[in-house]
């Protein structure tokens, strides 16, 4: 089901303004990653969808129906909690069947559905175990099966991989994506790990201080960030503050183009991704900067250079170019792409 937030605001008792006028639309069948630093309101957005929180202002719509005042029991959403929140006193089987029993599904149907999910989650042999007898990855799959059992219209994940070690994490990520593709249910997952968001999501919702910064495909938020926050939060970036002069802005002695609509002499933020800078050796007079250090990072080499204004830039050189400059080399820089944002 599609999800729509219209000017949603959430103020917690005690005055913490967690979400401030958030509007966005999520399409049916999409998988959206909700990305932001801690305290950005990501979890609150999720809880507003489940109905565990009600907005102070604004409306939440699910599948064209206004659900703002609907309690969680009637929203037909599934949520996988950060620490799974499995019922510790119930077996895996009883955990998964919980939602079906509450919906008064017949015993036959419950059994059929639970067996099906156990198979799907590769948990057949664990049906009679208790949650504390399972590994973190297995508990995660039980939590997912429990959420999926009543066939929710929307599936939500709160930091689903935060408590799992790196290797299993990668596996689960692929698995969750696979589950999404097989069920086709609209899914949202909260994360503070941008790599995770870019890899798994169809679109990424970037939140910052309770506001939507951008909602776009991974490529869009990376290549065409709409705000300074998105540009500096997603991917590596060099950020410089500069005054605008005669329709252009200068960094390290290089003039960069600027959106003509920006007012003259305003302070702007210039963002340059390390991969969008090329360097080549040059004489000290012609050079823009001097290499301080470089490091091999697999697919690319990272290189830190100091400009004549004593600013440190990070530059990435693809390993195929084998251009590892040694420390002390003077280099000329070419900025292939840059973003300029008003402050």
């Amino acid at each position: 089901m599609a999800i729509e937030f219209v000017e949603v605001e959430k103020v917690y008792p005690g005055g913490t303004r967690s979400v401030r006028g958030v509007s966005f639309q999520i399409r049916e069948g999409e998988m959206v990653g909700v990305l932001g630093p801690s305290g950005s309101g990501k979890t609150t957005v999720l809880r507003l969808i489940t109905g565990l929180e009600r907005p102070t202002k604004g409306d939440v719509w699910i599948g064209g129906r206004r659900v703002t005042d609907l309690p969680p029991q009637q929203r037909n959403v599934g949520l996988v909690f950060q620490n799974y929140a499995l019922f510790q006193h119930m077996t895996v089987y009883d955990n998964i069947s919980f939602g079906l029993k509450e919906k008064r599904v017949s015993q036959n149907e419950i059994d059929h559905r639970v067996r099906e999910l156990l198979r799907f989650m590769r948990l057949e042999t664990y049906a009679n175990r208790f949650p504390h007898e399972l590994s973190g990855g297995q508990q995660q799959r039980v939590a997912l099966a429990r959420a999926l059992a009543p066939r929710p219209q929307i599936l939500l994940f709160d930091e689903p991989f935060a408590a799992i070690d790196t290797q299993i994490r990668r596996e689960l990520r692929t698995f969750v994506r696979q589950v999404h593709e097989e069920t086709g249910v609209t899914s949202l997952f909260v994360t503070h790990d941008q790599e995770e968001a870019l890899e798994v999501a169809d679109r990424v919702l970037v939140l910052h201080e309770g506001r939507v910064e951008q909602l776009g495909t991974p490529e869009e938020v990376y290549e065409r960030p709409e705000t300074l926050f998105v540009a500096s939060f997603i991917g590596e970036s060099n950020v410089w503050m500069r005054p605008l002069q005669n329709g252009h802005v200068e960094v390290a002695g290089i003039a960069l183009p600027v959106d003509p609509s920006l007012p003259d002499s305003a302070e702007v933020a210039v963002v340059v991704r390390p991969k969008d800078v090329q360097i080549e050796p040059a004489s000290a007079d012609e050079a823009h900067a001097q290499v301080i250090r470089s490091a091999f990072k697999g697919a690319y080499s990272a290189c830190w250079v100091r400009t004549k204004d004593c600013e440190i830039w990070e530059v990435h050189i693809p390993s195929t170019e084998r251009h590892r400059e040694s420390a002390g080399t003077w280099v000329r820089m070419r900025v292939l792409k840059s973003f300029v944002f008003p402050r």
């Binding site: 489940t50 109905g51 565990l52 309690p71 969680p72 029991q73 929203r75 959403v77 599934g78 949520l79 909690f81 620490n83 929140a85 499995l86 019922f87 510790q88 006193h89 919980f98 939602g99 509450e102 919906k103 504390h132 973190g136 429990r146 959420a147 009543p150 935060a162 408590a163 799992i164 070690d165």
Partner: protein, 280 residues
């Protein structure tokens, strides 16, 4: 075993022997001094049987009511946190710091025929003082802190996200209590029940004030024992004491088993928590 500190060990065991082991032995010795037959005869006299029946019955009723009360009070204190919760929290411990005889006296004064409350109640056919209802009131008052203080940590330890998960899965508030909260609280509830039961069984001070001690009607076991001693029937008093202690011992053993279960559950939760932090 280490015996590097003989003085310390002698002191501890000496005190234990003189104030605990030997007196307990003396009661048993006295109880069976006339042989099994006279022991059985002493504890099966109609008055004794009635006293035990009344004591067990009222203690059970107290345990049932106060376990429920303990649960509700703990929920109010830990979950609702009303503005008066600090005052409530302090009041809960009051019965522990008031001499039990004074607790009984308070009830006699409030519900006695001399007070307006007592008069109003008796006009409506309810007599509290010198009746079983009065004893129940006294037992409820004296045991309430045990029930509340047992339930509080259990309510605190509840994982609210499990309740939220249940709501999202379609369970109503009532169903969440039935399927998620109460099963998790079962050990704590059992523990609170047995603790209040034992405490009610052995209560003397408040009961002696409020019950009127009519044999076959309002005479509780502890008061019955006291009465026998007053009449120089040491053997009978001892025999009744042994029976009373048996009831408490049974409750105590079950209680200990529950605590061991609780301890194991907690240990599992702890190792799990450690596991999780290792992952993070």
């Amino acid at each position: 075993m280490r015996f590097e500190r003989p003085a310390l060990y002698s002191l501890v065991s000496g005190v234990l022997v003189f104030i605990f082991v030997l007196p307990l032995g003396a009661v048993f010795e006295q109880a069976f001094s006339g042989g099994w037959f006279s022991f059985v005869q002493a504890v099966t006299s109609p008055i004794a049987l009635r006293a035990f029946e009344l004591t067990v019955g009222l203690a059970l009723l107290t345990a049932i009511l106060n376990t429920a009360m303990g649960l509700l009070t703990a929920v109010v204190l830990e979950r609702r946190r009303p503005p008066f919760s600090i005052a409530l929290d302090a009041v809960i411990d009051l019965p522990l710091s008031i001499p039990t005889a004074v607790s009984g006296l308070m009830l006699v004064l409030l519900y006695g025929p001399a007070s307006p409350v007592g008069r109003w109640l008796s006009q409506h056919g309810v007599t509290v003082v010198y009746t079983r209802l009065g004893i129940l009131f006294a037992l409820l008052f004296v045991t309430v802190p045990y029930a509340v203080r047992t339930m509080q940590p259990a309510i605190q330890a509840l994982d609210i996200r499990q309740e939220e998960a249940a709501w999202i899965l379609g369970a109503s508030g009532k169903r969440v209590w039935l399927r998620v909260i109460l099963p998790v609280l079962r050990h704590a509830l059992g523990s609170a029940f047995l603790l209040t039961f034992t405490r009610a069984m052995i209560e003397f001070g408040s009961v002696v004030m409020v019950s009127g001690n009519k044999p076959m009607h309002t005479e509780m076991a502890a008061v019955y024992i006291y009465g026998l001693l007053e009449n120089y029937d040491q053997r009978g008093a001892s025999a009744a004491s042994v029976v009373l202690m048996m009831f408490c011992a049974i409750a105590f053993v079950i209680e200990a088993r529950i605590l061991a279960l609780l301890g194991r559950a907690r240990a599992v939760a702890c190792t799990k928590a450690e596991g999780e932090t290792r992952y993070v």
